[in-house]
């Protein structure tokens, strides 16, 4: 469903942030994107979702394809219409708007008759949001804000969901329950997902396949099982028993 084809990205006056990255997310599949800080995970999400120009980044070569169509230079809002939705890093909820209004902002494109039904579906997934529907989103806890951010994307029932650092600053238990809900969504809606996660162990539990990014390049890819068992990943992200000195290249 989503393919990046030899994608290279650079930010103004800096070196390559992504170097010849090719990956694909199959329809209905959950793909994890792993990597250390600065590996280029978020850049990839930006490139795919059309947000790169807003960050002064540029696609130097390669293309992004959605359902086989070239969407490399589409604007973010057009991509949303094409079926892509995003849970941005750091949640970015609309703090001054109520929870319900947060969800309705994205629902603006839906036919009016459908809005209530979709709203109810999000509330069914995250009952806490119904309880807090009239509160300003800025007053919610981190976990609840993450639910708002997710709900905002899910109300569109996207065919492709991009999730950037869902676990950031959240308690492990909350993260797990949110991921569980994501799995439910994946099963009921059949949405494909590209999940960026620093917590490799967690991501590999939910994903079917994974890519490992290191300094802008894909250094390893395979099924979640293969990635979890690879020495490289074990060493860099899962924390192996090797002594500190052995980790250095």
């Amino acid at each position: 469903m989503l393919h990046t084809d030899h994608l290279s990205v650079a930010y103004a006056r800096k070196g390559l942030a992504l170097d010849d990255v090719s990956l694909s997310v199959p329809a209905g599949g959950i793909v994890a994107l792993l990597g250390a800080n600065g590996a280029g995970k978020t850049t990839l999400i930006r490139a795919v979702s059309g947000l790169l120009p807003l960050h002064h980044g540029k696609i130097l070569q390669g293309m992004v394809k959605l359902d086989g169509h070239d969407v490399t230079h589409m604007s973010p809002y057009q991509l949303v219409s094409a079926g892509m939705a995003q849970v941005p890093e750091g949640r970015l909820v609309f703090k001054q708007l109520s929870v319900k209004d947060n969800l309705l902002v994205t629902a603006a494109k839906l036919p009016r008759a459908q809005v209530q039904e979709r709203l109810d579906a999000v509330y069914a997934l995250f009952p806490q949001l119904l309880e807090r529907s009239t509160q300003a989103a800025g007053w919610l806890s981190g976990g609840e804000q993450q639910m708002v951010a997710l709900g905002r994307a899910l109300i569109l029932q996207p065919r492709l969901l991009l999730v950037d650092e869902l676990s950031l600053g959240l308690a492990p238990l909350i993260v797990k329950s949110i991921y569980d809900q994501l799995l439910v969504v994946g099963e009921t809606l059949g949405s494909a997902m590209l999940i960026v996660e620093q917590n490799a162990r967690l991501a590999l539990k939910f994903a079917s396949s994974a890519y490992v990014l290191d300094r802008g390049r894909i250094t390893f890819s395979g099924t979640a099982q293969e990635v979890a068992n690879s020495d490289q990943v074990k060493e860099s992200y899962l924390g192996s028993a090797k002594p500190e000195s052995a980790r250095q290249e």
Binding site: L51, S75, A85, Q86, P88, V93, F94, V105, K109, R152
Partner: protein, 353 residues
């Protein structure tokens, strides 16, 4: 909602309408039910000040829509006023169009200038954008000045008497009954815009532009639209202002004129439409009230009174400056925020005495 609170709400609304309808009578007759009132009992106010306040309210409402709701800070509002005044000079004074047509043309050109002024917002943000509106201000005022000197002279641009078909706006009372509905209409219209899908998207854009874009909303288009609407309203206000004063010069629309609108919405409460009304009212009426009190300081010719009378204009400025600072410290949400707090307290008290 309980029956009693609905009763109170309607009662207050009707009372408010009655007061608004009676106000011009009160301020021109200067007596209430035959009982003569002193100047100070009327707070040293006249209907002209009220009318100027209503015109300023249009400007404050439109700026608060742009800055408070869409999150775009502009110091170009004087320029939109000047645009309206200039369009009114061309279509009204020179071509002799009827007054309603003048207002419509002012709105149209104002919207156009607003879109042009908003174009930099597609590329630059924050302070840089503020500077671009600043530059736009000087360009527009320069054009107005050149226009004024080419077709008129230093005295300024004269405007004909405004009339809506046979209803000639030759008294403050008549003006009042044209301006008041306009303010109500603009207030109500903007309020409705905000509860629409587009308004919600605009509030979201103020909170987080990036997240709004990735929520499937074209923020660039939305921004230009906000600019067009806001500047159209401001241009109409500018045309009204010019017609009301019957003569304006380019100097009227200095940077001070632009900043006063920013002050109004800060005092009233950023992002609150009713706050914009309160801010405009304070800005326009308080100087006159302070002046009134200063003149009342006694006739003994004492030092205190002398200081008050001699420094009236400075006193007004000092009080205003202090008010803005105090508000920014204690009520960053403006008077509207204080109002909301009182309301919440009151409702809580009402429900659980």
């Amino acid at each position: 909602m309980s029956d009693s609170s609905r009763f109170w709400r309607w009662g207050l609304a009707i009372l408010g309408v009655l007061i608004l309808l009676y106000l011009p009578v009160l301020l021109t007759e200067r007596s209430i039910l035959g009982v003569r009132l002193s100047n100070m009992q009327l707070l040293n106010l006249g209907l002209t000040q009220i009318n100027l306040m209503l015109i300023a309210m249009l400007g404050a409402l439109s700026l608060n829509y742009l800055t408070g709701m869409a999150g775009l800070i502009s110091i170009g509002h004087a320029a939109f006023y000047a645009t309206g005044a200039m369009v009114a000079a061309i279509t009204g004074s020179q071509w002799g169009w009827p007054f309603p047509a003048v207002l419509v043309s002012a709105a149209a050109v104002g919207a156009l200038v607003g879109v042009i002024a908003g174009l930099p917002s597609l590329r630059v943000r924050g302070l840089y954008f503020v500077l671009s509106t600043f530059a736009m201000h000087y360009i527009v005022v320069f054009v107005f000045q050149e226009y004024q000197f080419k077709f008129f002279d230093v005295v300024g641009v004269p405007y004909p008497e405004a009339s809506i078909s046979s209803f000639v706006l030759n008294t403050p009372t008549r003006w009042y009954f044209v301006l008041l509905p306009m303010v109500v209409l603009v207030f109500w219209g903007l309020k409705n815009t905000l509860s629409s899908r587009e308004g919600r998207a605009m509030l979201a854009m103020r909170d987080h532009e990036l997240a709004t874009t990735s929520s499937g909303i074209d923020v660039r288009f939305l921004r230009l639209k906000a600019f067009a609407l806001s500047s159209a309203i401001a241009a109409v206000a500018g045309a009204l202002y010019a017609y009301y004063l019957t003569n304006v010069t380019s100097e009227f629309f200095g940077i001070h004129f632009a900043i006063q609108f920013i002050a109004m919405i800060i005092i009233g409460g950023m992002g609150s439409l009713s706050g914009a009304l309160v801010g405009a009212a304070l800005w326009l009426l308080l100087p006159s009230i302070i002046t009134g009190f200063a003149s009342q300081g006694g006739t003994d010719g004492g030092l205190f009174q002398q200081m008050l009378v001699e420094n009236k204009s400075q006193l007004v400025q000092v009080i205003f400056g202090s008010l803005v600072i105090v508000l920014l410290i204690f009520a960053p949400t403006g008077l509207a925020g204080i109002g909301r707090k009182i309301q919440t307290r009151f409702v809580a008290l009402w429900n659980h005495p």
